[in-house]
Point group: C2
Chain length 638, copies 2
């Protein structure tokens, strides 16, 4: 943890909208109108999100009766309620996504839909502020009797997040509902209330954000209380263990994230928010160390987290199987939430490296090209082809198979949607010295520096295909400031030119400090040759394998139809991958003798016939888009 955390005032125009607005930190995040993505890879995905995904989500939630739960017996809950205990939260996350989207592109129809949903939700809120369609109504289970699985505070948290997003983008329909709900929670779970936590963290960051928005300290205090209470085994015993709920060890005493990955990551995000707002640097350092250790030992090459299907959990250190890798989409979104918070607090670009890795290899992989199908989990090794699923059927399982239009537990869609709608706000920030550019896209940035000077830049790039990034200064009020561009960890040998003059690139940043003029051009070149990577030798699952990366992209070998037996490939890792239209690695196929028993003395091995073969690789995020296929990220080396 860097000690020189500087306090940055809330100087930005709040109507621009930002997901996280800490009152202090090394970086100040930019709003939707301060940083806009105007073209390329992510602009295309934002467009699909706006034009297809949001509507797709709404249609399914209506079709399955999840929205209907709010209106059936408004305010009283419904006896024939549909969906799981957490279905309310999907509507809230969708509402959050719509709010960011409305902030990005004002749209009367979108505003009307938000107002409609807000009225519906307001109608379901109890007089005392309680809000959940599954509990407390006639014939329903009572409130707060099943904190482990009821998801009552989890849903509340997502509603608060939606309200914060809507308020930060200029709408006021949700905030009164949110404050009534939050005040109810403060009464119910305050210092003199129930000494309890929710089985699924989420209320923690949400309450802090609401406190940041409203300036009401009681919400931050309540979040701090929830963070302090976690880890004392107040939830009931379960087969998955208390670690599943992060309720096994107090937050301040843990060394690593464990148990259910999304739960652990949402809690970490909330703990960071609490630490930042309460000036608790010890807590901040502890959670940062837990996350750093999780990244170093419990994270897939893609940035995906959580290796266990049964309990959607982190495994032990270095237990990262490629087969049936879990790497839940929502854990990717949650890890970005944590990394972004740590980045704002510390300014460390390594967190942006991780965010980029997750964006290109988990988030981009999760979505079908039409924006209407999703991966819930992200295997890194598909051994057999799987059936194509009908696109009008809700999927009961989470793992394997092609992207599905909907899941019984369909948390990924709206989580991706809210991230994509607000994505540009993660791409740049302001620090004490000037502007920082973390991610590369065709973009326009128009903001104010810490001292209030207005500046603007325009970036142009073919990233991630191409590693050249051109930045042009479009506005400056004079005086010296710094333009900093992240140099990804993989980009050793990056070069930079300032108005055509070569300058030295730093290890993790290009820093250009000068009295800028409008029209100044900074051009960064990141080396994009494909490269082999090897795993830590403690990751048993991929021992003796190599993977190939190109720029921020993890590549994979895919065999549509499964005709090429990928499990027989042996890559010659002494020959660097080559690139023409596609990246190719040299390999041979090995004849593998079938035996009646798959273990034996070394001498029993059948000397295989070797056939040389060039194996084309594709970006991992492109896999499973051409029909049923087999796939490997990690390729055994010869």
């Amino acid at each position: 943890m860097e000690a020189d955390m500087t306090v940055t005032a809330r100087t930005a125009d709040l109507t621009g909208g930002r997901p996280v607005v800490p009152s202090r930190g090394v970086l100040r995040p930019l709003g939707l109108h301060e940083a806009r993505i105007t073209g390329g890879f992510w602009a295309q995905r934002q467009q699909v999100n706006s034009e297809a995904t949001l509507e797709h989500g709404r249609e399914w939630m209506d079709k399955l009766g999840w929205t209907g739960n709010f209106t059936a017996e408004a305010g009283q809950g419904s006896l024939d309620r549909r969906g799981r205990e957490f279905s309310d939260s999907e509507i809230y996350k969708l509402l959050e996504a719509m709010s960011w989207e409305a902030g990005r592109h004002p749209d009367r129809a979108r505003d009307d839909e938000i107002a409609e949903l807000a009225a519906m939700i307001a109608g379901a809120q109890s007089a005392d502020g309680y809000l959940h369609t599954a509990f407390g109504g006639p014939g329903q289970r009572p409130r707060y009797q099943d904190l482990a699985w009821g998801h009552e505070l989890y849903c509340a948290g997502h509603f608060l997040q939606a309200a914060v997003a809507r308020s930060r983008t200029g709408g006021d329909e949700l905030l009164p509902i949110a404050m009534r709900l939050a005040d109810h929670l403060c009464r119910e779970f305050g210092a003199d209330g129930r000494d309890a936590v929710c089985g699924h963290p989420e209320i923690e960051p949400a309450l802090v954000e609401l406190g940041r928005l409203t300036g009401e300290q009681r919400y931050v205090d309540q979040a701090a209380l929830f963070v302090a209470r976690r880890g004392r085994k107040t939830l009931p015993p379960h087969a998955f263990g208390w670690s599943y709920f992060s309720d096994d060890i107090p937050v301040r005493e843990a060394h690593v994230l464990r148990g259910h990955a999304v739960r652990a990551l949402y809690l970490a995000a909330g703990a960071i928010d609490v630490a930042v707002e309460t000036g608790d640097d010890a807590l901040l350092e502890t959670v940062a160390a837990q996350f750093d250790r999780t990244v170093a030992r419990r994270t897939y090459l893609t940035g995906g987290m959580g290796s266990r299907h049964m309990d959607e959990a982190f495994g032990d250190d270095f237990v990262l199987p490629s087969d049936r890798a879990y790497s839940e989409t929502c854990a990717g979104v949650a890890a970005i939430m944590v990394a972004w918070r740590l980045m704002l607090a510390t300014g460390r670009e390594s967190y942006a490296d991780l965010i980029e890795r997750i964006l290109y290899n988990v988030v981009a992989t999760a979505i079908g090209d039409d924006g209407k199908s999703f991966f819930y989990a992200h295997t890194l090794h598909q051994r057999t082809t799987t059936d194509v699923l009908p696109d009008d059927v809700e999927q009961l399982g989470f793992g394997g198979g092609p992207r599905a239009p909907w899941f019984e537990v369909s948390c990924c869609l709206a989580n991706i949607a809210r991230l994509l709608a607000s994505l540009s706000t993660y791409f740049a920030s302001v620090d004490a010295e000037g502007l920082r550019i973390h991610h590369f896209a065709d973009a326009e940035i128009d903001t104010t520096l810490a001292d209030g000077r207005r500046i603007g830049v325009r970036t142009r790039t073919g990233y991630p295909e191409n590693g050249d990034i051109a930045v042009e200064v479009t506005a400056t009020e004079g005086g010296v400031w710094t333009l900093a561009l992240r140099v990804p960890g993989w980009a050793a040998g990056a070069s930079v030119e300032v108005n055509g003059v070569a300058q030295e690139a730093g290890r993790d940043q290009v820093l250009v400090r000068r009295e800028f003029a409008v029209g100044d051009r900074i051009t960064v070149r990141l080396p994009m040759a494909p490269r082999f990577v090897e795993p830590d030798p403690r990751i048993d699952a991929v021992r003796g394998c190599v993977a190939v990366e190109r720029g921020p992209l993890v590549l994979c070998a895919e065999s549509v139809g499964g005709a090429l037996d990928l499990d027989r490939l042996r890559v010659d890792s002494a020959i660097a991958p080559t690139e023409s239209d596609t990246v190719v690695v040299a390999a041979h196929t090995e004849q593998l003798a079938d035996r009646s028993w798959p273990y034996g003395a070394s001498k029993e091995k059948v000397p295989g016939q070797r056939h040389p073969v060039s194996v084309p690789l594709i970006p991992y995020h492109r896999w499973a888009r051409g029909g049923p296929s087999t796939m490997r990220v990690w390729l055994p080396a010869a």
Copy 2:
């Protein structure tokens, strides 16, 4: 499948008791009094089973109210019923174990306990023969409305098995209840009845066994109907998929076992029984091929089956992670059921190889020394030490951690108990030529050959510590016959002496054919030097690793307290393992640098300091008996 399957008549004294009594097959199984284990490794475990495990099981089933379910409102079910839907089956399996035990060692107290339980169960049976404590009573769910999860036919199957065991060991309390129950099932699920199967196979082998015992063809026909109905997706959709229930593909059309391992294996056992009794060689061949392929591609080194925790299922071919290997105890028992049936049908000793592997490395591993604690699952790699659990607390989870006294799902205890109580019947058999000895123990065999001649042999051995097996003929009525001893697949170089004269050992059998005289001595020497084994290169999880076996035992490295970092060991597999008091392999420890990101270019690797170390290995079945520890079966090779 061998074509020369000979029909062997039911010539044995049935009161001897045998778990499986096919009406035809290459081998005729021996009863409890024809084959007795008199000392050594398994005798000790049979004694613990008799003296501790059966009582331990009964105590827990009483304490948790599982036995009480039968008496609370006898015959009507109970409103406050305790335990899961399948708890009845645990009492039935215990009853089966008690029956074999009573057959092995007549004991008035044991007979009294069986009679008490029989009366209790009879009281809970409905007038029409239905028997289950969770369904059909006042306030309970109706019968047969939840075939996927209700376990009604599963429980019925285990009751039939108990009744068969009791009848074959001379008791008659259970058979009338069983026949009423089976007749009810034939009416309810017959050709004109419900076109349905149970979510958990088990009724299939049970009905065939009841048919064999009683000579009533209708039970065999009903079993055949259940086998034919399976695989047509008549069970409702579930997140685990129809494969979980083996209901995805008809038995005759499948190529490999898949889905929930115990379900698949019990079904395979039933399908073999049906095939044998109905003369359906095509079905027999199909199921044998499925099982053989499962052994070749979906089985752990220990013989354990099922690699997935979430659904207790087989994974795809070669997906056999050591970390959190599932390898459920009950799947081991079930695999022995299948292998034994195939062995009886075909005479192939390779099935006895597999049974031996499972016995020494799954079954022996499952039981605590005191017979009162159990492994539900069998990991092959424990990375972190786990807490010691209290010995009076029911465990909610199945995976990881030390042996537990009881589980919420506590199927393993009684399954092991019924196997151990009947174990000697798997050790030898009679074929058309003479006597076959499949497993090695101090034992006494007293039986009749296929032509009715009485013979006897006594075996003495220090197996599995020692590979010398001495067989002495104790009875013969003259004439030529064959004494066959299995030569395990690993025992290349086995030697044999007949009355001191060396004779050639065959590849998988020692065959001694002669006119035996009482006192003839056959001595077989199996080579017991520890040996390295390597995995099929398609098993990604253990690529680049070796394991060590000695005789039938899989060995492992264990570090009590975790002081030695097993994940840093690199074994020098060019140096053969040595043996003095214990088996030792040469290795070095590698310094593994911690990095902030666990993947990188090869040149980034920190050249580790190497410290040579001799690593002592212990039998895998001995692990986790000295306190919390880390453990590896597969050791990375240098």
